[in-house]
Symmetry: C2
Subunit: 428 residues, 2 copies
């Protein structure tokens, strides 16, 4: 798209967003209901377009990725159910977060508002396009959608159906935009005047590229280097299945475990057990010298310590206590998700209070780090930033607020010279 | 400071912060109380050091800036009172923001935690150093302090007194650092591994320099281009004093008005009145052609439209209605503070709902945009970002959260294969 035309389109998106954000809840829910219906009505068209993508991709991408690319009756039902869940949620716009009388009849209100225009870059999963568009309608945000290139036909079809449904409402589809090229992604990163937030999902390298090439705030995470510390007071009956699940339940996920830290007091008991289940499931172990004195495994190179394998490989290292585990995790981890396995309350509390990560778990799998599992509804991403939103981000992460102050002629000089005084009375 | 030593010091700050954040409220309040006492005990030393700065600065900086540089009994009382206010506030750390049972006995808790290490760059106001250090102690954040160079002796003295007080507590002063050189500022901007947030206060050019030169999130604002729209339904008795106060009460402030938009239906009534009070107070008016047809003034060049004068100059332009005013403000303003003067509820609501600014006011001065006036306690800055914190930022803006999940051996594969199901029961 030509640069000037493209910029004008983005500017128009910003204006459309302000009108969307001022629309009533019933109008936004009505639009979601219509999308819910038209997705079912137009499903044959959508499935046919998805088949083109699947055929094109066959042999080029792995089975797991093909599975995510597929958009069938089951996926349709899941996204439609998701829309019904969203409709049922209370309106996130216009919530009164604070209300304070500054002086008699001089009222300050802090009200929730949408963030504005969001650039959302996501993997080749057509259901993600529907989820994101629906979240943005509910929360009053305009969105620029960029999906994985393997899903190009599916995304176009879904975008067409959603836009057509919106055109039948008073909202119109002016707050939605689909982009496809890398050039367009590079262009939006420069438009900090119009775009309020970028949420990139994808490879580390891509997320880093986004972070390094924009002044727009970025929500997300580059690395997902999760650790589990198996304490001296761990219950072996749960430690072994938890570590195994954290590694193999979905090894390519950002919340899969990469580093297992084992208290040296239980190494002789734990290591043979974990080696057996890892061997049975094809997981390659990289162990430090202390580990290799007990079990046979690959050696742990300096590069393997806190390495993000994203595959059936794992590093194991012995530590002398909880404090050492915490220190290693804080210095080398990615502040995403880290777990302790222990029956000792003191060590658990130390871990909970000192591990500086978005998600800190005790006695369960790191794979629970997920918006749906947390009960947040749909997830737009997982943030390792400590600013704005941290960990799995749902609807609330798409909201900002503004301060409304309503007076009757108040001027600051009256307060500066003492003629009047604030009384700051909280009303909410 | 040598680069490696400096980086080690910053890394140590991060570690000290985690221990600060795990300390009890009574320990942090006790430290604040000790600082409160020792500031009084060591005041002669502080005043003497401040005198050096004042003598050095005399003749080089304006009266207003000199006034801010001064640290006397009055300022001391004000910062000490501020510390007592902070002690009285409830603990911002460890607040339970959400609590949810994911499955029987499987509990997720969202708990407030400090952001971490904050780089705070502020103007030559010694009282700001005390306020910021106190806010960070209360909120559990480590802070790198960089004050205006004119206050170098005062800042060293205050930092010495505060550090000495902290050294008498179990917290130690390891989470506080004072830096002075531009080179050190440039260095910290690169340390995104250790520093979680930068809050720069100062000139537009400086804030922009910070934003363009760091991957660390930045909280603040570059421009403060505030507008007032005088509606056709404005009450002239309040419109004139409000516009005057917004301009002259403190013209160098970011919340001073720079652009006045006048509904053309009341231009003949309003413009002569505002011209009179502006003339009486030495304010230069830049008016568009429609304005100049009614009152004598400078002409409004393209560069003066929404220009940040920060002085006794103002632009005035006629508009045909509220919608045009909103559109001009959204396209050209800085999303900081904008006000409408009107007795018409519909126009006020339109302005409140569509103006995309942090602070949107009706019938009062733009100068009320301030943390203290809003009742937030001390203010660390005003944010025009829509991410994390917006508008005046107080203690809450220095907090993040983390997700704690406590189980008894739960693994994801049991939920993925349907053996178990989430019930997501909110407990708070």
């Amino acid at each position: 798209m030509e640069k000037e035309v493209f910029e004008n389109n983005i500017a128009a998106l910003k204006k459309a967003q302000l009108h969307l954000s001022a629309s009533s809840e019933s109008v936004r829910n009505g639009a979601l209901r219509l999308i819910y219906e038209e997705l079912e009505r137009d499903k044959d068209f959508i499935f046919a377009e998805n088949k083109k993508d699947l055929e094109e991709a066959k042999g080029k991408i792995g089975e797991a990725v093909l599975g995510r690319l597929k958009f069938d009756e089951k996926k349709l039902k899941s996204v439609r159910d998701g829309i019904l869940d969203l409709i049922a949620l209370s309106d996130p716009i216009g919530r009164i977060e604070e209300k304070r009388e500054l002086d008699f009849g001089f009222i300050l209100t802090k009200k929730s508002v949408p963030i504005g225009v969001i650039g959302m870059i996501f993997e080749a999963r057509p259901d993600a396009l529907v989820q994101i568009a629906a979240l943005c309608i509910k929360s009053g945000n305009a969105v620029i959608l960029k999906g994985g290139k393997e899903a190009v036909n599916s995304n176009r079809a879904l975008f067409k159906v959603i836009s057509a449904a919106l055109e039948k409402t008073s909202l119109t589809s002016a707050f939605l935009m689909l982009i496809e090229s890398h050039e367009d992604v590079a262009s939006i990163l420069k438009m900090d005047k119009y775009i309020d937030l970028i949420i990139p999902r994808g490879s580390n390298a891509f997320v880093r590229y986004v972070m390094d090439n924009t002044r727009i705030p970025v929500l997300g995470h580059a690395d997902g280097i999760c650790s589990i510390y198996v304490d001296e007071y761990a219950n072996m009956d749960i430690a072994v299945p938890i570590v195994l699940d954290s590694k193999i339940q979905y090894p390519a996920a950002c919340n899969a475990v990469e580093m297992v830290l084992v208290n040296e007091k239980i190494k002789e008991c734990f290591l043979p057990k974990i080696k057996k289940v890892f061997n049975d499931n094809g997981v390659i172990i990289h162990g430090d010298e202390e580990v290799r004195n007990i079990i046979e495994c690959e050696s742990l190179g300096d590069d393997d310590l806190f390495k993000e394998f994203l595959s059936l490989e794992v590093s194991i290292k012995c530590v002398k206590d909880t404090a050492e585990a915490i220190d290693l995790i804080n210095r080398n981890g990615s502040h995403h998700t880290d777990a302790i396995i222990t029956e000792n309350a003191e060590n658990k509390n130390l871990f909970f209070s000192l591990v500086d990560s978005a998600d800190v778990f005790a006695n369960c799998s790191t794979r629970f780090s997920d918006g749906y599992r947390f009960g947040l509804g749909a997830e737009v991403g997982i943030s390792t930033s400590k600013i704005h939103a941290r960990g799995p981000v749902g609807l609330n992460g798409l909201m900002s607020y503004k301060w409304l102050l309503e007076g009757h002629g108040e001027i600051v000089s009256d307060y500066a010279n003492g003629k009047k005084v604030f009384h700051h009375k909280d009303l909410v």
